[in-house]
Symmetry: C2
Subunit: 257 residues, 2 copies
Amino acid sequence: MTPLYDVLVRCICTSHRRTCTTYSWQVAAEKLTRETVVERALDLADREGLDAVTIRRLAGELGVTPMALYWHVKNKDELLLAMADHAIDLVAARSRPGEPWDVRLRAMVEALVDAMRRYPCLPVLLGHVDKTRAESFRRATDTALDVLAEAGFTLAEGYLIASHLLVGVAELVKNIPAVPAGMTDAEAAECARQARLRLEMLPADRYPNLVAYAPALTAPPDPDAYLAFGLDLLLSGVEAQAARLADPAQPRYGTTP
Amino acid sequence: MTPLYDVLVRCICTSHRRTCTTYSWQVAAEKLTRETVVERALDLADREGLDAVTIRRLAGELGVTPMALYWHVKNKDELLLAMADHAIDLVAARSRPGEPWDVRLRAMVEALVDAMRRYPCLPVLLGHVDKTRAESFRRATDTALDVLAEAGFTLAEGYLIASHLLVGVAELVKNIPAVPAGMTDAEAAECARQARLRLEMLPADRYPNLVAYAPALTAPPDPDAYLAFGLDLLLSGVEAQAARLADPAQPRYGTTP
DNA sequence: ACCTGAACACCGTTCAAGT
DNA sequence: ACCTGAACACCGTTCAAGT
């Protein structure tokens, strides 16, 4: 542990690294960074579900020892937070000032939908992080509060609406009716048939509506009509409240700014 | 390991047990049942959060070996499912046939709110179970579909609305502004002050609305106004859609029954 | 029928040590 | 600065065995 030894080792190390990076088999092990850790974690979660994202498993995927990750990320909670932060990053940007509040709000919600379709793990990921600690959530929430204030809502009301829209969109995208990626038409049909049978096997006297719903499951899914209806449902609630609260006699939640 | 030894041990044991049950310190170990397992798990989750519900931890709480639980419950997933099932049990019952659809729907939603306030772990628990596998969910969904069909929705629309209301209420109750149980007024005030400071410490140029929202946090929380606004928001969306879809020219999601 | 004990393959995380 | 190795205290679950 003399300085000389230290310097010597350091030299060997850097020169070793310099030569190695020229070989292709070393490219994968090419100096870990926090960004690649987070992106690889998102990738893993999208492919195999959030449960597959494990410090040890992720480390294996990156060709590195589990404890190596702790250099780039404080702990698993921070990893999940960084994943959500990274996935939601583009949402705040898509508000268009100048437009009326309802089209601005719809644009934001559609940006949310896009983010969740781009990162399928995002809806369930949202349930595992403290949203107030993520930077991109704060940005998105702040611009949402801006839009909603323009609609006449108090800040407290706007805050509630913002988180309501967030989980509403998450639930919507989670249940989006689509053939799972990498499934042939035949497999998808078989899948739908089994889902239908599961419903039809229920006792019809106790669950008449669920049983009646079963045939609809064999029809080809229509994600666009589904999303259109879901988004209208979410947004029309906000619009209805905005209209109702335009009457100053109505009781409010929170003080008007 | 002779038969004689076997019988001998058995005698000692049963007589031991028979005497023991007369002592009060043995009452807790009084024959485990699936119901007490589930209820104890709910209790544990309510007190210390869902993460505290662990097979081993729960077994310890029940004064029993971890593997004993596997006799009453197939695995942890089934335990979580049974917990949700038990907590949501009373909801379907609270629909009042004869009333118009919107008051029936509101009654169901309010029953949901009650269940979630009774079992604080329920909102997060819902994120960890497959709702289609729980009996009381199916019952509640079926009666909801009944109510929503009366409102003119298709079954597909009704199904979407039902799950939308479920997660909407869950999010609402999760964020309910109330002084946490077992906290003095002084502690609650300190808690609010810190929440306010956390917001006010944010850079005001990037998050102007969040910073402006901070002072509202020091005001005493008003759970009733919060819930009233949240429920109105949820339900007015459904009502607005019902009104819009009364026009037969409007596009629909799913076929009308 | 109901419960225990030992064992297996997994976790997240710490801490000292290497290079 | 960045990564490894060994260790700790925890998981869920199986399987054979006890009573």
